[in-house]
Amino acid sequence: MKRRALAELVCEYVDDLDAGMEEADSYWEAFPQFRADLEPLFVLSHRIKGTLVPVEPSPEFANALRSRLVTAWYENKACEEARNEEARRRGWWLRAAIVGSLVSMAALTAVVARSRGQLAAVPEMKFR
């Protein structure tokens, strides 16, 4: 329970630091019972804030990387379009193959039906 309260208060204090407010006194007034636990952590948070600072990439690096990424973006796009085109072509071939198969089946069925019909039409031979 106490640990959870301490964790909440530490997080709040770090948020205060981020917002540029560095008043620990309000915490001591509100939570005097936690002061001994919190004070070293607040001091440490302050030190971390002063030590871990944002850094800027060099403009040369930023510009060079940007142009490489833009080139790569266009290459990716071209590859993707080629892939899509290939998939579309493959789709047409597949559809043509299916239609061809269906036509062949239909033709075969028609031929078979017709030949059966002709057989049925042949008059019965009479043997003496």
């Binding site: 640990r3 530490v10 997080c11 952590l41 600072v53 850094v55 990387l65 940007r66 790569a72």
Partner: protein
């Protein structure tokens, strides 16, 4: 009044619009670079891994889905994985002290204080670098990127409560680590003073006996 387009919508647009991708890059370059710099400790590797991060993001952009994760969280995860692989591939290479950062300020005003302050920073950076990767990540996201706990939770794949608890535990362990190293430092200093005294006394005794 103009509203900035959200990262997520921009990412959707970047799938078909190179300008949108450029905008995303501009928005996130400094943050990703800073994050990687603090995880690797030098500019050269920071540039190298930042480049890898953005190229990987570009390669996977078509698969990015708004519903799955915010764009920032998605990008940080890529960066985190790349840094983790870098640490693994480089044979548990030691973190090198941050190069070129924070020149000794106000040397003219109080050189001793400036040197001491710098030494404290070096000590703290070393202690942070010895923390597990997730704790380093948390400190950078919280203290440098000033992210809200909810955002950090999304990046790290944890709950907000877990992030708060981890921050508390991280500060606690850092505090004890720094206390330990300070004790070791004091012991070493005490020992070297004692050794120096022994040498001086020994030399004085030798001089006395020779005289």
């Amino acid at each position: 009044m103009s509203f900035a387009e959200s990262d997520e919508l921009l990412a959707e647009r970047a799938k078909t619009d190179v300008a949108a991708f450029g905008e995303l890059y501009e928005r996130h370059l400094r943050r990703i670079y800073t994050y990687i710099y603090h995880r690797t400790g030098n500019f050269h590797d920071a540039e190298d891994l930042t480049e890898k991060t953005f190229f990987q993001a570009l390669a996977n952009l078509q698969r990015y889905q708004i519903q799955a994760a915010p764009f920032t969280a998605w990008l940080y995860r890529i960066a985190h994985n790349i840094v983790a692989n870098w640490h693994r591939d480089s044979g548990r290479r030691r973190f090198s002290q941050l190069d070129g950062l924070a020149p000794l300020s106000d040397l003219s005003a109080d050189p001793v204080a400036a040197v001491e302050a710098e030494e404290e920073k070096v000590e703290l950076r070393g202690a942070i670098a010895r923390l597990p990767a997730d704790r380093q990540q948390l400190l950078i996201l919280k203290f440098v990127e000033q992210m809200a706990n909810a955002e950090i939770a999304q990046v790290m794949g944890r709950t907000e409560g877990a992030v708060k608890a981890l921050l508390y535990r991280t500060l606690e362990s850092l505090k004890s680590e720094l206390g330990k190293s300070r004790d070791v430092g004091l012991d070493q200093a005490r020992r070297s003073v004692e050794e120096s005294l022994q040498r001086v006394l020994g030399r004085r005794n030798e001089a006395k006996s020779a005289g």
